[in-house]
Amino acid sequence: METVDARGLSCPQPVILARKAIDAGQFPIEVLVESVTSRENVRRMAEKAGCKVAVAEMGDEFKLTLSK
C-alpha cells in the first residue's frame, strides 16, 4: 500500500503527487487530503486515469483509496 499524504498542500499539489503514485503503479494507493476541492480534483484525475476511487471521511479530512 502506497500512501500519499497531501494534507495541508494546496492544489494542484495533491493531484500532482497522486498522479506520480499512479504512474509508479503500486496499487492500492491511499491519498490523504484536507479540502473538498482536493478530494474532487484527485478523484476526477484518478477516475480519468482509469482508477476506482473510494472515499472515506475522517473528521475534517478525507482518505481516497485508488485501485485498478
Binding site: G8, L9, P12, I16
Partner: protein, 375 residues
C-alpha cells in the same frame, strides 16, 4: 438535496453554469454603471479599493467595490452552509505576499486581470488576445516549475478566527463605503469624481452579484488561471469549460446590450502596446500559478478560511499602491488634441515587469523540494 447540488456543481455542467452566470452578470454590471469591459475585474477592483483607502492617489481609480466584498462573503456563506469552511495558514506567507504584489503590477501593466482579459475580448478588444497569450505563456512557465517539484509547503490547521479575518475586513470595507467618512482634511476615504473609479453599478446590486458569484465559485472552484494550467499540466478541460462559457455568454450579452466594439486601438481603459500587454500578463500568469490561483480564486479561498490566500490578496492591494505611486501601471490609449496617442508603460513600469518576472523565476527555481537543502 445538498449532496445532489454538490454533485451538480462538481460536474462539467456545474462549472459551465457558473461561467455562464458570470457571463450574464458582468456585462449587466457594465450596463448598470461599471466601467467599459470591466463588469468584473478583480485586479482593477482591488486597485480601486487601494485608491479609496489612499494607498495610492490616482484620482481616477478610487472606489470601494462591493463586488469584491460580496465575493469573499458569498464564499464564506457557501463554505459554512456546506461545512467546508477550514481555517488554515502558514504556507510561505511572505512569498505569497510578494507574488501577490507582482501579480498586481503585471495585471495593471496590461490593465486587467484574467477575468477582465476575457471580458475585454468578449467586448471586442483584440488587445486581450495578446494578454491572454501572455497569460498562457506565464502559466506554462509556472507549470514547468510545478513539474520540477516547486512547492510552497504545507499549510497548518489553525483557529477558526484566523479564517474570519479577511471576511471581517471586507465587512469593514463595506461599512466604509456606506458611511463614506473623511479621516483627515483632503484625506481618505476617496471616491473618484471622474474616470473609471466614478463609474459603478448600484451598491446593493453589485454586492448581490458579488455574493452570488462567490457562492457559485465556492461550489464549483471556478478559476481562470487553473483553467489554462490544468490543460497544460494534465490535459484536463474541466475548469476551461467554465471560462469558455463565460467568454461565449459575455460576448452574446455584449452584442445584445450594444456594448461590443471590435478593434485594437482606442479601446476603453486599455492600451495597444502589444509587447507590454503580453509581458504584463505573462508576469501575472506566472505569479498566479506559483501561488495556486487567479485573483478571483485567491479571494474565494480567503473567504473559506485560507489565511495564505488572504496574504496574497493583501499583497495585491499593496502592489496596486506601488503600481500607481511609482507610475508602473499602463496608461490607456488616448486622443490628445485630436491625435490618437498609444498608451503603454513608463520605463519604470517596464522595469517593474522585468523585475517581477525575475523575482518569480527566482521563487520558482529556489523553492523546490528537490533542491539541495542548506544546512
Amino acid at each position: 438535496m445538498s449532496a445532489r447540488l454538490t454533485k451538480f456543481f462538481a460536474s462539467r455542467w456545474g462549472i459551465i453554469f457558473a461561467g455562464a452566470v458570470i457571463g450574464v452578470l458582468a456585462p449587466l454590471l457594465q450596463k448598470l454603471g461599471n466601467p467599459p469591459n470591466m463588469g468584473i475585474c478583480v485586479a482593477c477592483f482591488e486597485r480601486d479599493i487601494a485608491g479609496a483607502l489612499g494607498l495610492h492617489r490616482a484620482a481616477a481609480v478610487q472606489y470601494i467595490r462591493p463586488e469584491i466584498v460580496g465575493f469573499v462573503l458569498g464564499v464564506m456563506l457557501a463554505a459554512y452552509a456546506f461545512r467546508e469552511f477550514r481555517a488554515r495558514a502558514g504556507s510561505a506567507p511572505i512569498v505569497r505576499f510578494v507574488l501577490g504584489m507582482f501579480a498586481m503590477i503585471g495585471a495593471l501593466a496590461f490593465l486587467g486581470c484574467p477575468w477582465r482579459a476575457i471580458l475585454r475580448l468578449a467586448g471586442g478588444d483584440l488587445n486581450a488576445i495578446l494578454g491572454l497569450a501572455g497569460l498562457a505563456v506565464g502559466i506554462t512557465i509556472g507549470v514547468q516549475f510545478l513539474k520540477a517539484g516547486y512547492n510552497l509547503g504545507r499549510a497548518q490547521k489553525t483557529y477558526t478566527a484566523v479564517g474570519w479575518i479577511m471576511p471581517l475586513l471586507m465587512v469593514g470595507l463595506f461599512l466604509l463605503l456606506l458611511l463614506a467618512p473623511t479621516f483627515s482634511k483632503e484625506g481618505p476615504i476617496f471616491f473618484s469624481k471622474t474616470g473609471p473609479g466614478s463609474l459603478h453599478a448600484p451598491v446593493f446590486f453589485a454586492l448581490g452579484v458579488g455574493l452570488l458569484v462567490g457562492v457559485l465559485a465556492q461550489r464549483t472552484r471556478f478559476c481562470t488561471m487553473g483553467a489554462i494550467r490544468d490543460v497544460i499540466l494534465m490535459r484536463e478541460t474541466h475548469l476551461l469549460s467554465g471560462v469558455a462559457a463565460l467568454l461565449a455568454v459575455a460576448f452574446v450579452m455584449n452584442l445584445a446590450l450594444g456594448q461590443a466594439r471590435f478593434g485594437l486601438v482606442g479601446q476603453p481603459v486599455a492600451h495597444s502596446s502589444f509587447l507590454w500587454n503580453f509581458l504584463g500578463m505573462a508576469l501575472s500568469g506566472l505569479a498566479f500559478t506559483l501561488a495556486g490561483g487567479c485573483p478571483g480564486r485567491q479571494l474565494f479561498l480567503s473567504g473559506e478560511g485560507d489565511g495564505d490566500a488572504a496574504v496574497f490578496v493583501t499583497g495585491m492591494i499593496v502592489g496596486a499602491g506601488f503600481s500607481h505611486n511609482f507610475a508602473l501601471a499602463g496608461s490607456p490609449d488616448a486622443i490628445v488634441d485630436g491625435v490618437a496617442k498609444t498608451g503603454g508603460l513608463t520605463p519604470y513600469g517596464m522595469g517593474a515587469v522585468i523585475l517581477g518576472l525575475a523575482a518569480c523565476l527566482l521563487v520558482g527555481f529556489t523553492m523546490r523540494e528537490t533542491a539541495p537543502k542548506e544546512v
